[in-house]
């Protein structure tokens, strides 16, 4: 498209919108490296003491470990399920495709508070109770739509004639998939995994209902802390979470560039 100049009013509004989007995230960081006991702005002196508080706290680090374990497990589960489904959705003509799409998307559409209580009741009924396993199942349900969408998009970008060529040259279906399709969509699988991971790592509502005292994920611990008071420790934890998101984004972006270069 030919670029077109926009008027000063539009520029002003856009500048305001970008400020609105950026400032809240940027404000957290100076608060986290603040040396005073309270949230002061501008910060009075720089120190890493709040980060040290977090890193030395067994409660925070324990929660980080719980979150990591839950996110990794549900990512592995979710991406595996999605991988199989995506191949069928993209490569085959199936009946009721619309209905299958709708079913897979459903966890994304239904508000998390509803999913959370529905699963909470269900787990209580079957006496699975609360804890890691319950949260992992809940987060896997959420990971499926995220990864199916990404994997479908990736598979659509791979020329199915490459697979046909392998088949005509004598490879069986599984070999053709493993040797041709899989390497081609590897970056897509990785980015599906990154976004599935992030969706679990940052998820609060389901984890809040399923948490037991020993399985408080990072967001659950932040939630409890925020309800209590807004001390700079939370700013430090938040900064670390922003860092995790940013790293995930950079990784996903690098992967998608590599993917495009290969196409």
């Amino acid at each position: 498209m030919k670029p077109r100049q926009t008027g000063w009013f539009v520029k002003l509004c856009a500048f305001f919108a970008l400020t609105y989007l950026t400032v809240p995230i940027l404000v957290i960081i100076p608060l986290a490296i603040n040396s005073s006991d309270y949230l002061r702005f501008p910060p009075q002196g720089i120190s890493l003491r709040w980060f040290m508080t977090v890193l030395e706290s067994s409660a925070w680090m324990g929660s980080a470990a719980v979150s990591l374990q839950i996110a990794l497990t549900s990512t592995l589960l979710g991406v595996s399920l999605s991988m199989l489904a995506a191949v069928a959705l993209v490569r085959a003509r199936i009946r009721f495709k619309q209905a299958v799409y709708a079913l897979i998307l459903l966890p994304m559409i239904v508000p998390n508070i509803i999913s959370a209580i529905a699963m909470f009741f269900f787990f209580a009924d079957i006496q699975l109770g609360s804890g890691s396993l319950a949260i992992i199942i809940g987060h896997t349900v959420l990971a499926v739509p995220v990864s199916v969408i990404i994997l479908c998009a990736t598979l659509q970008g791979v020329d199915s004639r490459l697979e046909s060529a392998a088949l005509s040259l004598g490879a069986d279906r599984f070999t053709a998939f493993r040797r041709i399709t899989l390497p081609l969509i590897a970056p897509g699988i990785a980015s599906a995994a990154i976004f599935a991971f992030l969706s679990s790592f940052d998820e609060l509502v389901i984890a809040l209902f399923m948490a037991s005292p020993s399985t408080q994920t990072l967001p659950v611990r932040i939630w409890n802390a925020v309800l209590f008071q807004l001390d700079p420790t939370i700013a430090a934890v938040s900064t670390l979470l922003i860092l995790v998101s940013a790293l995930c984004l950079v990784a996903a972006n690098t992967l998608s560039m590599r993917f495009k270069a290969r196409m």
């Binding site: 999605s82 199936i94 509803i114």
Partner: protein
């Protein structure tokens, strides 16, 4: 075709995911719907309780009002930004887009916390305003409907901008140049040519933000107050505080119906397929 044309192959691949979702998601949802209407005999008492109690109707009304305010605010703030970005060179636009994408992928809880820190009575905004002598007493923005709308609009703005931008990028600027060369002023060309063409984006963004805001929990729970409770907060309270699962299920069923209705509109106007195809 890597999959056999026989109908069995693909379904075999779909089974694990569909089975998992049916057992751990669809069944619990159906169970919840049933819980709202059976006790164990069929009953409508949870629903009649909702209708007969003005306080609960108020919660429903508040939910719709906040949802609408958030959708409109996001549109008003997002439209000029998306328009601005769509008229830039792709490279510059992609660079500025980072400022939209990073908040989009940052934890909702962290972003809500940021607003609590900004707007609180002893928050940064008040510290700055008091420091500059612009106000003599701290502004009481926090824990009001205003703070909820500010926070939720902030969280959902990226969805709006991305939906608008993807449509606006596709609008041929030659049409605007043509309108101008035929005598329309810049403003007239914008309103008569660009705005109508951007309507699919407005529909997509607006419905998406409405769908997401109607069931939002984290931000209203942390930044709102009891008088302006949204339905999600009432559901949580019924489960965690009052242990009334039947009533919570009825509330959740109503919320679910509203969400699905909006989503049906989204499917009609925008198309569900767009989520799967032509992305990335």
């Amino acid at each position: 075709m890597i999959l056999s044309r026989k109908a069995v192959g693909p379904w075999l691949l779909l089974t694990p995911a569909l089975l998992f979702l049916c057992i751990f998601f669809v069944y619990p949802l159906c169970n919840m719907l049933a819980r709202s209407a059976f006790d164990p005999a069929p009953t409508l008492r949870h629903y009649t309780r909702l209708i007969n109690e003005p306080a609960y109707l108020r919660v429903l009304l508040t939910t719709f009002e906040i949802s609408l305010s958030v959708t409109l605010s996001a549109l008003v703030i997002g439209y000029p930004l998306a328009y601005f970005l769509s008229q830039l060179k792709l490279r510059t636009a992609n660079f500025l887009m980072v400022l939209v994408i990073v908040p989009y992928f940052t934890s909702v809880l962290v972003r809500t916390y940021a607003w609590m820190v900004l707007l609180g009575t002893e928050g940064i905004l008040n510290q700055v305003l008091l420091g500059l002598g612009l106000v003599t007493r701290p502004l009481a923005i926090m824990f009001s409907r205003t703070s909820v709308v500010i926070g939720m609009t902030y969280i959902l703005l990226p969805y709006m901008v991305l939906a608008l931008y993807s449509v606006m990028r596709g609008i041929d600027t030659h049409l605007l140049h043509a309108a101008e060369s035929l005598g329309a002023g810049r403003i007239r060309a914008f309103w008569r040519v660009f705005v109508p063409l951007s309507m699919p984006g407005v529909a997509a963004g607006g419905l998406l933000v409405a769908i997401l805001s109607i069931g939002f929990f984290i931000t209203p729970a942390l930044m709102g107050n009891q008088q302006d409770s949204m339905i999600s907060m009432l559901i949580e309270a019924q489960v965690e505080t009052y242990f009334d699962w039947g009533f919570a299920s009825a509330l959740a069923s109503i919320l679910l119906a509203c969400t699905l209705l909006l989503f049906l509109a989204y499917d009609r106007m925008v198309g569900l397929n767009r989520l799967f195809e032509a992305k990335q």
